[in-house]
Each structure stands twice: as structure tokens, then as C-alpha cells.
């Protein structure tokens, strides 16, 4: 650490290097921290969460009972102990609340004044954050599994929507209408994701085990379909041609730079694809438990080297090294299946929501106090330790 600092000070190193090293260290030390809590508002499973990119301060969450909550993540109290408060809630009593389970929530990438939610009640609502009222409601024929706004788009304001219908819908925020459909899938579309690198590139994952990459400017069809065997016909059985998984594909995530695409499927596999040409990089992550019939929200760290993948895996969150596929750790804390996780790029914190109604904050554990310091403090340091951490052997057992 000191070496990094000196190198940084003397200008030997790129400033990015120190940052990366520290981020990586912090990600590696993610723990369930007793100092950080998130208000328990949801009375049902938490399906989806999203942290806004403008300030990194507010987090949205959508529950299986249709409730939407906004949390304040910033700790201004000056104490390490902090409970993320629920700033506002669209509860069951609100007249605008989604009737059924909320499947996806997303902040408008440029402003916290707006967010978009979609639900199994076949609607997608664009909300005004101040009023907590929907400014626009899109209605669809089937359950909405997923939607996504491009995080970098300057030339369009399209929301891609994956519904029970195999056709992907593109809704324009400017006109408030559905302007386009993308045809090609044969089953419900479970997840859609815009590329963070090219604003017209869209990836979609479907229950027909295919993942397609589209350029929305091209109407005729998808750019390519990801193939787990990289076109090797001998390995694939006839029906498995051009499939990304041997089951429903329900998780989709671009890396921060948009160069790679991660997919998870109900065949308990996770695959990493080159998003430029659709090549399977064949990184082996081992078994990634996945029984969800709906969208699963996985996420990738940013600003670390190497980068890490956080993926829900049963009742825990698995952390993998992105390019080697090595399982770094399992974050165990939920008492039921985890459905979503979101990474906070500024503080290297991870938030995860699950069916046990909890949103857990995984915060880097600060380095323990050095040994020398402790010896100075002596007995005073001992007493400051929480009494619950002390052993209480009774004397009669000597």
C-alpha cells in the first residue's frame, strides 16, 4: 500500500494503478458488515435493484408484491454504523402501484428525476421521482420480464422491453409510443441489455436458450446469435445449434467496457462471450446454481483488475474472477434464493436482494488495526471490544 502511494506521489505509476489495486483489494474483502443495514420495507421477495449512476446515492428496489422503494445509500452521519433509509415508497396503498410483481427497475441514466419499472401486470411505468406518479404507462399483451434503457445513448431514448411475447418491443420515451419490434426469438424474452459501448447494440436472452445481438438500426434481423459451440457442428446436436445454453437463458450482463457479455442459464452454467463477434470465450465458471424461471440480475465490478462477476447462486452470491473463471468467494447471508445484485462502483459495495425480503449490503471490511497500535492502547483496547465477542468460559471447568 505504502509502495503504491510513493510510486503514485513520485509519478512513477499511472494514477489508475493505485486506484485499481485498492478497488481490487476492497472487492476481495467484501463482507456482511454489521455497520451497514438497509431498511426492511419489503414484505415480499426483492426481485430487482438498481443504483443510479449520476451520484451513486440512491438505490431503487422492486418487490414481488409490486412495491417500489428508493433508498439513500449515502452516510452523512459520520459514524460507521448506518442504516440506509427508505426515502420514499410506492406501497400497496398507492393508487399507482404495480398490481403484480415488479420485475425490473431502472433509473434514467442521466437524471434521478425519472425511473422506469416493469411488472408482471403487463405494464411498464415511467415515473416522476418527485411526484411518485407515473408520467407514462406502456401496456403490453404479456408479462414484462425485463426492460433496459441504454446507459450511454445520446441519439435515441429507446427502452428495450422483453415480454412473454417473443418479439422484443422498443418503446420511445420521446414519443411515448412503441415504435419497433425485433423478431427472431421463439420463446419469451427474459432479459434485455444495451451495450455500454455502442448505443445501438442490444443483446437479448430468451427462454428458447438463444442469445441474440441486434443493431436496432437494422430492421431485418439480429446481427448474430451466440453459439455455445462456436459453430462447431460436430459438437452440437441438431436442435442445439445456435444456442447459448442448454436451458432458459435468464441472466445477461455486459462488462463495464462493453467488450464482453456474460450470460447465465438454467443449465447451471455461466458463459463469457466476446460481444464484438459473438465468440464463446470458453471460460469455465463451474456450476452456477440457477433455478429461476424469471430474470436473474447479475453484475460485474468496475475499475478493478482483474474484474469480478457477482452472480446469484442459490441463497448466496458467488464472486468469480471474470476472465479466469476462478471462484473467489461465496457471499453467504441470505436465507433464501438471491434474485438480484448491484455493484456500487464508487465504494466497491455490493447490494443484493433475495426472496427472504432482505436487501443486504456487502461492504469492504476495513483493514484491522495494526499490532503496534493495539499494544499502545493496551487494556483500554481490550475493553472497547464488544462484550459479545469475548469468550465466557466459566471457572469451574478448570
Amino acid at each position: 500500500m505504502l509502495a503504491f502511494l510513493t510510486a503514485r506521489q513520485t509519478g512513477l505509476d499511472d494514477p489508475l494503478r493505485l486506484r485499481r489495486a485498492e478497488s481490487t483489494r476492497r472487492v476481495l474483502s467484501l463482507k456482511l458488515n454489521p455497520d451497514r443495514d438497509v431498511d426492511r420495507v419489503h414484505g415480499n421477495g426483492v426481485n430487482t435493484i438498481d443504483i443510479e449512476a449520476v451520484e451513486g446515492r440512491y438505490m431503487l428496489s422492486g418487490g414481488a408484491d409490486g412495491v417500489i422503494v428508493i433508498y439513500d445509500l449515502e452516510n452523512y452521519s459520520g459514524k460507521p454504523q448506518y442504516t440506509c433509509k427508505a426515502v420514499c415508497t410506492v406501497g400497496r396503498s398507492s393508487r399507482y402501484v404495480h398490481k403484480f410483481s415488479v420485475e425490473t427497475v431502472q433509473w434514467y441514466p442521466y437524471d434521478t428525476g425519472m425511473f422506469v419499472t416493469s411488472s408482471f401486470d403487463k405494464t411498464m411505468k415511467v415515473w416522476d421521482t418527485e411526484m411518485l406518479k407515473p408520467a407514462e404507462v406502456f401496456e403490453f399483451e404479456g408479462n414484462v420480464y425485463s426492460h433496459h434503457l441504454s446507459p450511454i445513448a445520446r441519439k435515441h431514448s429507446l427502452i428495450a422491453v422483453g415480454t412473454k411475447n417473443p418479439k422484443i418491443q422498443l418503446c420511445d420515451l420521446k414519443s411515448g409510443s412503441r415504435i419497433h419490434v425485433l423478431q427472431g426469438h421463439r420463446a419469451e424474452v427474459l432479459s434485455v441489455q444495451w451495450s455500454p459501448r455502442y448505443e445501438h447494440i442490444l443483446a437479448t436472452a430468451s427462454a428458447d436458450s438463444k442469445v441474440k445481438v441486434w443493431d436496432v438500426r437494422r430492421a431485418s434481423g439480429s446481427l448474430f446469435t451466440l453459439d455455445q459451440h462456436n459453430g462447431d457442428k460436430s459438437k452440437a446436436s441438431s436442435e442445439a445449434v445456435h444456442t447459448a445454453h442448454n436451458g432458459r437463458v435468464n441472466g445477461l450482463c455486459f462488462t463495464g467496457d462493453g467488450l464482453y457479455l456474460l450470460t447465465t442459464g438454467t443449465d447451471d452454467r455461466m458463459r463469457l462471450w466476446n460481444s464484438a463477434n459473438g465468440e464463446n470465450t470458453l471460460v469455465n465458471y463451474g456450476k452456477v446454481c440457477n433455478e429461476s424461471r424469471k430474470r436473474q440480475q447479475l453484475t460485474v465490478s468496475r475499475g478493478c483488475s482483474p474484474e469480478f462477476v457477482f452472480v446469484p447462486c442459490g441463497s448466496s452470491v458467488a464472486v468469480y474472477a471474470l476472465h479466469t473463471g476462478e471462484l473467489v468467494t461465496m457471499l453467504r447471508g441470505h436465507y433464501n434464493n438471491v434474485d438480484c445484485c448491484a455493484f456500487h462502483p464508487d465504494y466497491q459495495e455490493l447490494y443484493s436482494g433475495g426472496k427472504d425480503c432482505n436487501i443486504l449490503a456487502w461492504v469492504p471490511v476495513l483493514r484491522p488495526v495494526d499490532v503496534e497500535e493495539e499494544s499502545n492502547k493496551g487494556a483500554a483496547g481490550q475493553s472497547s471490544v464488544n462484550p459479545a465477542f469475548q469468550d465466557t468460559w466459566s471457572s469451574d471447568e478448570d
Binding site: P34, Y335, N336, L360, S394, E397
Partner: protein
């Protein structure tokens, strides 16, 4: 950590968990704590052994392991860290948070384990909840997601509560059914119509019909007329009184719940009975007409002729009473009651019915024409000529009842075609073969057709004697076989101690005994062998000799309650039989054989379908 400590810890944990006791042995627990105090490695080791015991499929083992864990939890920070880190798994094994993994049997212990675990988790939460985040999360999970009511004395989870409700509902349903059955029974002051009360019941029926069809409508009509016309109060009141009393009579009849026999074609002379108090003023005799097919209790006046009935029974009632004062129903009504004056009309009516092909009577007539009814069975059939009834009455009572046969058909005559066989040589339409003898006489057949087999099976006499052979326990064999006991052979007379009475039998039995003794070598006396073994220290397999080679495997943990024993239910025993491998194989073989046969037979059928 030393190896000896490690071994000692494993040993202690195993001993404690397999003791089967509801409480831990304090001395052993103290020893564990003493070793654990030495270092965290020991705690690691104890933790792992406790967790492995917790995952055993035996509630007693789990309970003891849980008690060890809770003892250590309150003492060691390191143990708390370890346990809380795997708190999900711990809850699954003790509180049954995962409904896919129910707690293992025995049930009572499992219930105790769960309630103890829930209480303990609550107390842990109170003292350590703030320090151990996952503990607090687990507590909230139990409380909010699993809806465990920590105040509930039984500390039941939702699933458990639901199961309880289910059971209660089931019991309620069963009770309800029982109550219904009981009420049905209780209603049951049923009057069964029997031979004895037949006449009374018939009267009741007739009166009932009379009231419903005639008197009640009439009274109702009067009441209507009186009210419309605004007649005198006196009159109206009388009419209403009458109506009320009639209705009361009907109600009474209903409450009797008389189970009527089906009445077929029978004429009854019935006069009112003085038992029916309300109808004294309307006492009259009337005649019950035979029921037609399609029973119609209410026949309008203008349609009565169509049904072949008298215009109205009540019009001639008075005259009938005078004519037939002695024809009150006698129980049981004998055949003589059929020879009544009205039988001629009855017969006429029957004939009419016989003309109608939709009537049962028509069918009966056809049957009668083809098979003349033998006298024995005719008594129960409906309406033979009345003269035959009179003659059949003279018969002695003990004449045998035999089934109808050809010999009865040709009783007293020569059977025309007995024993003749007609040979049809060819059935061709055009070709006629050479003339052959078409009829063949067969003496055997003739004899058969004119004779009759009557078997005399005799009557069953229950066995009154016992086998009474002496048994090993000093008692006598209580089997009651007729001739031969399956254990002690032919049954012979024996005295009080079970010794055979006759000398021969006694000798034979002694011989048998001797032979048996010789089969087992006398030097293999079980007790003697054991003594020798104890002296020499060598295993001469005395226990096998003593138990005739049926040595039983010693149970590994004798203190734990045996789970297999409780599984020995009638169901499991049946399962063992039904799902026996060889049985299954046999059944499968049979079925596949049947399938194959079918296939062979019909496999080519598509040929015909296509052509």
C-alpha cells in the same frame, strides 16, 4: 492440538449424541468444555463434529448435538463465528426452515428439538444479535418470512401450523360424517314392515293415502269457501280444526318412518283402525287397488276410469263395510284372503294389463306360457288361479323344495324327445347329402333327463376338542383342528397334563422326542459351552449354538430409539411384499407377456385397415 485431544473430543461428541437422553451428561460436557478452552483448533474440531452429528437422520442425535452447540455458543466467540457463518444450514437442520428437508423421526423428539431451537435462537438474538449480523438476519428471517411466532408456546412454523389446520379439518370432516350417520340412525325409529305387522302397516298406508288425496283437499276447499264467503266463525273454526288434526296425523305418519315393502299386485281389504284417533268420524273401509307400473298416488277423479279404477272408493265405502265386516286384515294374511269377492275384478284388470305390452304383467304372462310355474314356487308368485292355491294349502309343510327341472316339467308323463339326438348332417342351402339316420337314441341322456341329483351336504358341526399337546411354556396347545394339528400331528386323546391316554401314542411320542434330542449333539449344551468359553477365553460360538445359528447383529447405538422399529406398520409390511423384487419381476414378466401376445395377434391389423 494434540491428536489425543482430537480423538477424545470426537469420542465425547459421539458418546453424548448417541446417548439418546433428553439431557446431556454434565460430566462429559464439562470435559469437552475443558478441552475446548485450550485452543481455537479444538473448537474448530468440535464444531465440525457437532455439525456432522446435526446432519444425522435421527432427531435424538440432532437434539443432543444442538444442546452441545448451544452450550458452546454461549461460551466461545470463535464457536459463535463458525456457527453464525453457517447459520442457514444450522437453521435448516434444527428449525426445519427448508420444507424439502423435514426433521427426521422420532416425531416427538423432532418437535422438541424445533421448539428448543427456536427458543434458543431467540435468546441468542437477545444477547448477541447486535454483534453478529447474520444471527440477526436469521432471526428476522424466521420471524418475518417463516412467520415463526416466538411467543407461541409450541413455537410452530407456518408449515407446521398449516399441517395442524389440515389435520383439524380432516378430523372435523370425519366427525361430521359420524354425526350425520348417527343422526340418521337416531331418526331411525324405522318401522320395518314384516310379516307380523303387515296388516297394520297396510292400513296405515291406506289411511295416509285417503287423507292426502281426499280429506285434506276437501277440508282445504271448505276453508277456502268459508273464507271467501265470509261464513260463520264457528264453521270456519271447525274446518280449521279439522285441517289441523289431519295435518297432525300426516306428521305423525311421517315421523314413524315406515319402511314399506314393495307391494305387487295384491288386493287388500282394509278397514280403518281405531288406533287412528283423529279419523274416527271418517272411518270407512276402502279397497286398495293394485299398483300399476309407474306408481301414481294421486289420480284425479276424471282419470280414474282410464286407470281401471273405481270412480271413487269412498262412495261405495259404506256398502263395503256392511258387506265385509269379517274381512279385517289378519296378520299374516294367508292365501285365503285372495279368494275374496273382489278377485274377479282384479282378474279382469290383470287381463287388461296383460294386453298392454309395456306392462310387467305382459312379460310375466309370456314367461308363464313358456314355462308353466311349478307348484312349489307358485305360492310366492302373484295370481295363479285361486283354486290351485286352495289345493296347495293342503300340502305337508316338510315337502322338499327343489329347483325346477325337466323331470318336473314332464311330471307323470312320457318325455317325448328324451335321449334323442338330432343329427344335422349338412347345413348347406342346396346340397343335400345322402340320407342318414338323423335321430339317434341315447339311453344315458334319457336317464339323465328323467332323473335328478340331490346332494345332501349334511350340517356343519363345530370342533369342540383341542389339540392339548404340551407346549414348551407348560401350557397345552389350544388349536382346534378337526383331525390333525399342523404342529403336533394327529389329534389324540390326552389327559390333564397333555400326555397321550393310550400307550401306543405315548411310546410314539417318546421316540420322537429321543430322535430330536439326537439331532442336537448333547455336548453342545449351551450353558456348558459358555462355561468352557469363560474358562478358556476362546470363542467356541456358544451363542450361535444356543440360538440355533440365528445370531442377531448387535445394535451400534443401543441407547438411541430404533427408527426402523416404528416403521414396522401394516403398510410397510405390505410394501415389503408388494414391492418385493421377485414379485415385481414376475408381474412385469406377466404383463409384458400379455402385451407381446396381444401384439403378435394384432400386429398385422394395419394391413386390413389399409386395404
Amino acid at each position: 492440538m494434540e491428536l489425543s485431544q482430537r480423538d477424545r473430543l470426537s469420542e465425547l461428541v459421539e458418546e453424548l449424541t448417541t446417548s439418546g437422553q433428553p439431557q446431556l451428561n454434565q460430566d462429559k460436557m464439562k470435559e469437552i468444555k475443558k478441552i475446548c478452552k485450550v485452543s481455537n483448533d479444538c473448537i474448530d474440531h468440535v464444531y465440525h463434529s457437532v455439525m456432522s452429528q446435526l446432519s444425522q437422520e435421527h432427531a435424538e442425535v440432532r437434539l443432543s448435538a444442538f444442546q452441545i452447540a448451544s452450550e458452546l455458543f454461549s461460551r466461545s466467540h470463535h464457536f459463535r463465528m463458525l456457527l453464525v457463518d453457517n447459520f442457514q444450514g444450522f437453521l435448516e437442520l434444527t428449525v426445519e426452515t427448508d420444507s424439502e428437508q423435514p426433521l427426521p423421526p422420532p416425531k416427538e423428539v423432532a418437535r422438541k428439538l424445533r421448539s428448543l431451537a427456536i427458543q434458543t435462537v431467540q435468546s441468542w438474538q437477545a444477547s448477541y444479535g447486535t454483534a453478529y449480523k447474520k444471527l440477526a438476519l436469521g432471526y428476522h428471517f424466521l420471524k418475518q418470512v417463516k412467520k415463526v411466532d416466538f411467543l407461541d408456546a409450541e413455537a410452530r412454523t407456518v408449515a407446521e401450523r398449516r399441517r395442524e389446520q389440515e389435520r383439524r379439518r380432516k378430523m372435523e370432516r370425519i366427525y361430521k360424517e359420524r354425526v350425520e350417520a348417527a343422526t340418521k340412525d337416531m331418526e331411525g325409529l324405522h318401522v320395518e314392515e314384516t310379516e307380523d305387522n303387515e296388516a297394520v302397516v297396510s292400513t296405515v298406508i291406506d289411511l295416509y293415502r285417503l287423507i292426502t288425496t281426499k280429506h285434506l283437499p276437501a277440508v282445504q276447499g271448505w276453508v277456502q269457501v268459508f273464507t271467501k264467503a265470509g261464513a260463520e266463525q264457528q264453521l270456519l273454526r271447525r274446518a280449521l280444526d279439522l285441517k289441523r288434526s289431519l295435518e297432525a296425523a300426516l306428521q305423525k305418519h311421517k315421523e314413524l318412518h315406515i319402511a314399506y315393502k314393495t307391494r305387487v299386485r295384491r288386493v287388500m281389504k282394509a278397514s280403518s283402525n281405531s288406533e287412528d284417533d283423529d279419523d274416527n268420524d271418517e272411518d270407512d273401509d276402502f279397497e286398495e287397488v293394485p299398483e300399476k307400473e309407474g306408481y301414481e298416488p294421486h289420480i284425479p277423479e276424471h282419470l280414474r276410469a282410464e286407470y281401471g279404477l273405481d270412480p271413487s272408493p269412498s262412495t261405495s265405502a259404506a256398502s263395503v263395510t256392511t258387506k265385509l265386516p269379517a274381512k279385517r286384515p289378519v296378520a299374516p294374511p294367508s292365501q285365503s284372503s285372495y279368494c275374496s269377492s273382489s278377485s274377479s275384478r282384479q282378474l279382469k284388470q290383470l287381463k287388461e294389463e296383460e294386453q298392454d305390452p309395456t306392462c310387467a304383467a305382459a312379460t310375466l304372462r309370456v314367461l308363464r306360457q313358456h314355462f308353466p310355474v311349478p307348484s312349489a314356487s307358485s305360492s310366492s308368485s302373484s295370481s295363479g288361479p285361486s283354486s290351485s292355491h286352495c289345493s296347495s294349502e293342503m300340502k305337508p309343510v316338510d315337502a322338499p323344495v327343489v329347483p325346477f327341472g325337466l323331470d318336473l316339467y314332464y311330471w307323470g308323463q312320457e318325455q317325448p324327445s328324451a335321449g334323442k339326438i338330432v343329427k344335422a348332417a349338412s347345413q348347406h342351402q342346396f346340397w343335400v347329402p345322402i340320407e342318414t339316420e338323423e335321430e339317434v337314441e341315447n339311453d344315458e341322456l334319457r336317464a339323465e333327463s328323467s332323473s335328478r341329483y340331490i346332494s345332501f351336504p349334511g350340517s356343519f358341526t363345530p370342533v369342540s376338542h383341542y389339540c392339548r399337546a404340551p407346549l414348551g411354556n407348560g401350557k397345552l396347545c389350544q388349536r382346534q383342528d378337526r383331525l390333525k394339528c399342523p404342529f403336533h400331528g394327529r389329534i389324540i386323546p390326552r389327559d390333564q397334563e397333555g400326555r397321550p391316554c393310550s400307550q401306543d401314542d405315548r411310546l410314539r411320542e417318546e421316540q420322537e422326542e429321543r430322535r430330536k434330542m439326537e439331532e442336537q449333539p448333547d455336548w453342545r449344551d449351551a450353558e456348558l459351552m459358555r462355561d468352557i468359553e469363560a474358562a478358556t477365553g476362546e470363542n467356541l460360538s456358544s451363542d450361535r449354538a444356543g440360538k440355533k445359528g440365528k445370531g442377531k447383529k448387535k445394535k451400534k447405538y443401543p441407547n438411541l430409539s430404533d427408527l426402523k422399529q416404528s416403521a414396522n406398520t401394516s403398510r410397510s409390511r405390505l410394501e415389503k411384499k408388494v414391492f418385493n423384487k421377485s414379485t415385481m419381476r414376475k408381474v412385469a414378466q406377466m404383463m409384458s407377456k400379455a402385451d407381446r401376445r396381444k401384439h403378435e395377434k394384432f400386429s398385422n391389423q394395419f394391413n386390413y385397415a389399409l386395404n
